[in-house]
């Protein structure tokens, strides 16, 4: 079949190339959020007080918990790469499972955080926000967009890691052939990296 | 730069035209010189004339030369561009200020004594400052003869200033695309000698003198001045908003908060539609295009407009 006619081309496996590709993809993701960071910094500069006030609505505690969760999950996925290199399949799977569980925990936390806001009537287009100052509208608009986009990346990352876990379980990924695992790890660290900046910008400006 | 008739139409013409001419001179030189060299080479070194090419890999000194010379030239261009531009940002304190409002799709000029016009009248040889305000989307006020242009961004204060140097009437355009009638957002600047301008300026006898006995004439004038006719036709043709021909007293299907209902077009509806344009949208038209005229039109004005509309339904 045409798609597989090129097996002979794929036969030449290029892990380094795959990694370069992944990094470039990560750059595009960084710049995607970069655009939002530009918007954030401009509006924060233009409305310092309103941003300050609006940030009071966010719970530093929830934010901190989520940061800790993501940092730990970042470590576990990084460890899973060492584990596969040590040929410890079981530990690899456990570490990836922990990562997925923590990601899920993050989302649960996020769900409660968002639904809390929404039940207080703070969501785009709500009557409360329409009467708020312009800076507050912008703050919450950015808050929902940036954390929402970030949560979307968490979900994509979970799907990616889940897929790689299956490959590990089926022994498609082994100690000498784990570039996909490494790439899924890179993606997960990217999610972490973005959160490292989102956290102080939204939760710590009170 | 291109029309000798208006070299001094405003105080900026010289700066702009100088930078333009300097740059034009440089680029014409390069365009002609490079094109000529190119054509000469193609003829001189065509295959039949020069069957064997001489391999030349490059020359560092040439590369440096043709990096440095353009760099110097572009800095010259930048300099002329900058000094021509700089005075445009510094309006004198005592400038005669006119509030200039752009909206879809007409201009309105408000003078300090309350006069309102849709044509810009300015005194000769006196600094004029336009305080710019856009009501809906971005517009851009452009007076080609004065070499002046400034965007009007909603929610942002902007200004432009100039000293008119020659009596006459000049075009004024909108140059930032602003929707359907963008190209008809066109009016003129009239430059008058100081004495004539003063006479015009003091004459605050509103529009009364123009009013005939014809019913609705005052309403028609108000409508024209506020740019209503950019979107509402008087002859039944469909523009952005419903035509006013036969509108008053007609039964219309409108969309109110997402629901269809029928109503009769009466004074109450017209008042409400001018104050809250989006509350009842006639079926087949789009919401969000009309701004509230609550602050622009008094209740008396609206009554006059209704009188005028009635004449269209007879």
């Amino acid at each position: 079949m045409t798609m597989n006619d090129h097996v002979h081309i794929d036969e030449h496996r290029d892990d380094e190339g795959a990694k370069t590709g992944m990094w470039i993809f990560i750059f595009t993701e960084l710049l995607l959020f970069g655009g939002l960071f530009i918007v954030y910094s401009v509006y924060r500069y233009l409305n310092p007080l309103a941003f300050h006030l609006a940030a009071h609505e966010l719970s530093t505690f929830t934010g901190t918990i989520n940061t800790v969760i993501l940092l730990v999950s970042s470590m576990t996925i990084a460890m899973s790469i060492s584990a596969i290199q040590y040929k410890n399949k079981k530990l690899t799977l456990i570490l990836m499972g922990v990562t997925l569980f923590l990601a899920f925990l993050f989302l649960v936390n996020k769900y409660f955080e968002w639904s809390g806001k929404i039940s207080h009537g703070i969501y785009p287009g709500s009557t409360i926000l329409q009467e708020a100052s312009r800076g507050e509208i912008l703050f919450f608009g950015l808050y929902y967009t940036m954390t929402g986009l970030h949560a979307l990346h968490i979900i994509i990352g979970m799907a990616f890691i889940g897929y790689v876990m299956r490959l590990v379980a089926k022994d498609k990924i082994q100690h000498d052939n784990f570039i996909i695992l490494e790439n899924s790890g890179l993606y997960w660290h990217l999610v972490d990296l973005i959160w490292i900046f989102l956290f102080p910008l939204f939760y710590l400006i009170t | 730069m291109f029309s000798q008739k208006i070299p001094d139409a405003s105080n900026f013409v010289k700066g702009v035209d100088t930078s333009f001419m300097v740059i034009l001179g440089i680029i014409f030189f390069f365009l002609i010189a490079i094109t000529a060299t190119m054509i000469y080479f193609v003829f001189r070194y065509r295959k039949s004339k020069n069957p064997k090419a001489t391999q030349i890999h490059g020359s560092v000194s040439l590369e440096i030369t043709w990096t440095i010379i353009p760099t110097i030239l572009v800095m010259v261009m930048f300099y002329y561009g900058w000094i021509g531009y700089k005075p445009m940002k510094e309006a004198p304190e005592d400038a005669f200020t006119i509030k200039s409002i752009g909206r879809m799709w007409n201009w309105q000029f408000q003078y300090e004594n309350g006069k309102q016009t849709d044509t810009l009248y300015v005194p000769l040889d006196r600094a004029v400052k336009l305080d710019l305000k856009a009501l809906d989307v971005i517009h851009s006020l452009y007076i080609p003869a004065f070499r002046l242009k400034q965007d009007l961004v909603p929610g942002k204060k902007q200004m432009m200033w100039f000293i008119p140097g020659r009596v006459g009437e000049y075009d004024l355009f909108c140059t930032e695309y602003c929707g359907l009638q963008h190209s008809s957002m066109h009016t003129s600047v009239v430059v008058m000698p100081q004495d004539k301008f003063d006479k015009w300026y003091i004459d605050t006898t509103r529009v009364a003198t123009l009013i005939t006995d014809k019913p609705g004439a005052l309403g028609h004038l108000i409508v024209k001045k506020n740019g209503c006719l950019a979107c509402h036709s008087l002859d039944g043709s469909k523009l952005v908003g419903p035509s006013w021909k036969g509108l008053f007293g007609k039964t219309e299907v409108v969309i109110t908060q997402g629901k269809k209902r029928e109503l009769i077009v009466d004074s109450a509806y017209i008042h409400n539609s001018i104050h809250n344009p989006n509350s009842d949208i006639v079926k087949g038209f789009k919401r969000g295009l009309m701004l509230s005229y609550k602050d622009d039109l008094t209740d008396e004005d609206i009554d006059e407009i209704i009188k005028f509309m009635k004449t269209l339904s007879e």
Binding site: T28, I38 | R46, G155, S183, G288
Partner: protein, 536 residues
């Protein structure tokens, strides 16, 4: 399997039959050459549509007032013309068609690094094109914002904005995928011996382009996403009614869209750098200078976006920074022109159709670039911004630059791609008519801008009438030329005489293999020992 492998190296990529037959053999093929042709065919169709829109607009402008269409139609025409030409043709154009086809061949590889991703990017491209075009037929009527989607008009217009914006957003992924693919391909798959400084200039140009595609496109992606969110969910970003700043939208939009101009022009310069040495029978003058200036353009081009906003009310500091940077980015382009012309010195020039295209490119590109100098100067810009002068300037760059290079590349590589030669006589006649029409169309627009005719005008005052007549006439002439050129090419794909492997006596790797190439390009990966344009 071994039999098929043999077959790969005997049958050309055009005749090769995989598992699928007919159309499916193409749209499911991961062969970089077939993908290149898929892009070529899709673009020719879209180009005909967009060029027709352009012609209709020029006919409308032949006289003031209504000529053949109403204002709403005109506004939606220039919007669709812009979106199609920019996002669907000029930005992906050269990389997707000729980059896909020739990048692997020119660096001595069998395919790109990620062939499946490559096919996927074509699919995304088609999806994006369909979404953009759907905006014409569904919902509240064709969008009328111009291709720049400036806030707040794009939030206020009642027309069908969302599909257009979403389509542009989707196309971004296609662009990123292509760029990513090319970077990895160039890094990892160069033939043995092909050091960076032995790589031909077209791959170099694609390398610079790919980095811009990868690093600039996400910014416009997220900006368009913000428009979608603002329109659907009333999240405040750029609408002043919700606290936003419309000028910030312009910043973000041009942070991408200015580098996008370099996505358009760098590969075009790469093509010219290939054509000139081939027909001059001479190594290129200042290879290193051209490489360095390619990278310099890609880099500095990232920081000049503000020159689209000189009259928007930016701060003075921003104004002169952008003005200086704008002038600086002109220098590497100038260096390239000097090097190309110097290459002709003491050459032995074989004047053929592709070379004529390159000469015409040099002329119109110079006009485009030099007129940009006028626009880069602050004071002249205040007068000329948003007038017909700007329209003329960027058509000279984008159409005159990229468009001429695109057709030049098509005439240059045509025998390699299809294994046949077009009718050279007709090709030259077509070029002559096209070139005349092009200049008749756009030169008067410079003048119109100088006397103050704003752009995007459906109607104009009487004093602009004369030049508009000339310009509209030029449009018709130009379209006539295009028809001749394209008909000639389409006809020759079947009926042209069989081309030899190296009809132009080129020295880069693509001329060392069969025309049309076999499925795997090379029987054996070549070992490179010489400079790319070695005519010693």
């Amino acid at each position: 399997m071994s039999e098929t492998v043999l077959q790969h190296n005997q049958v050309s990529y055009l005749e090769y039959q995989g598992r699928f037959k007919g159309l499916f053999a193409w749209i499911f093929s991961t062969d970089h050459k077939r993908i290149g042709l898929l892009y070529l065919y899709s673009m020719l169709v879209l180009f005909s549509v967009a060029a027709t829109l352009g012609l209709l607009m020029k006919i409308e402008l032949i006289a003031p007032g209504k000529t053949i269409m109403d204002a709403q139609t005109y506004n939606s025409f220039f919007t669709l013309h812009g979106i199609t030409m920019i996002f669907l043709i000029v930005v992906p154009g050269l990389p997707a068609v000729f980059g896909n086809f020739f990048l692997p061949i020119m660096i001595g590889a069998k395919d790109v690094a990620f062939p499946k991703l490559n096919l996927l990017s074509w699919w995304i491209y088609i999806l994006g094109a369909l979404v953009v075009l759907s905006s014409q037929f569904i919902g509240d009527g064709p969008p009328d914002t111009g291709w720049t989607f400036y806030a707040p008009y794009s939030f206020r217009t009642g027309t069908n904005m969302l599909p257009a914006v979403t389509g542009a957003f989707i196309l971004g992924f296609s662009s990123i995928a292509t760029g990513l693919n090319f970077i990895v391909t160039i890094h990892r798959m160069r033939a043995p011996g092909m050091a960076w400084m032995k790589m031909p200039l077209f791959p170099w140009a694609l390398y610079g382009t790919a980095w811009i595609q990868v690093l600039a496109t996400p910014i416009v992606g997220v900006t368009l996403l913000m428009i979608v969110l603002e329109r659907t969910l009333q999240i405040g970003f750029f609408d002043p009614a919700l606290g936003g700043d419309p000028i910030l939208y312009q910043h973000l939009f041009w942070i991408y869209s200015h580098p996008a101009v370099y996505i358009m022009i760098l590969p075009a310069m790469g093509v010219i750098s290939e054509i000139i040495p081939t027909f001059a029978r001479k190594t290129i003058f200042g290879y290193k200078a051209i490489v360095v200036s390619t990278l310099a353009i890609a880099f500095v081009g990232y920081f000049v976006w503000g020159h689209h906003m000189f009259t928007s009310g930016m701060s003075g500091t921003a104004l002169y920074t952008f003005s200086i940077l704008t002038f600086l980015v002109a220098i590497p382009s100038a260096i390239k022109i000097f090097n190309w012309v110097a290459t002709l010195h003491k050459a032995s020039i074989d004047i053929q159709t592709p070379f004529l295209w390159a000469l015409c490119f040099l002329f119109v590109f110079m006009i485009g670039g030099l007129s940009g100098m006028v626009l880069g100067a602050l004071s002249a810009n205040v007068h000329l911004h948003d007038t017909a002068f700007v329209v003329a300037h960027f058509h000279f760059i984008v159409f005159g630059g990229t468009g001429f290079a695109f057709f030049g590349a098509l005439h240059y590589w045509y025998p390699k791609m299809f294994g046949r030669m077009y009718d050279k006589g007709w090709a030259n006649i077509g070029l002559a008519i096209f070139f005349t029409g092009f200049n008749t169309l756009y030169l008067p627009m410079f003048y119109l801008g100088m006397i103050g005719m704003p752009r995007r005008y459906y109607d104009y005052v009487e004093e602009f009438h004369g030049p508009n007549i000339v310009s509209s006439f030029g449009a018709m002439l130009m379209i006539a030329g295009l028809i001749i050129i394209i008909t000639n090419l389409i006809r020759s794909a079947r009926k042209g005489e069989i081309a030899e492997a190296d009809p132009w006596k080129g020295k880069t790797l693509e001329w060392s293999i069969a025309s049309p190439p076999t499925l795997e390009n090379f029987d054996e990966i070549p070992v490179v020992t010489k400079q790319p344009y070695d005519y010693e």
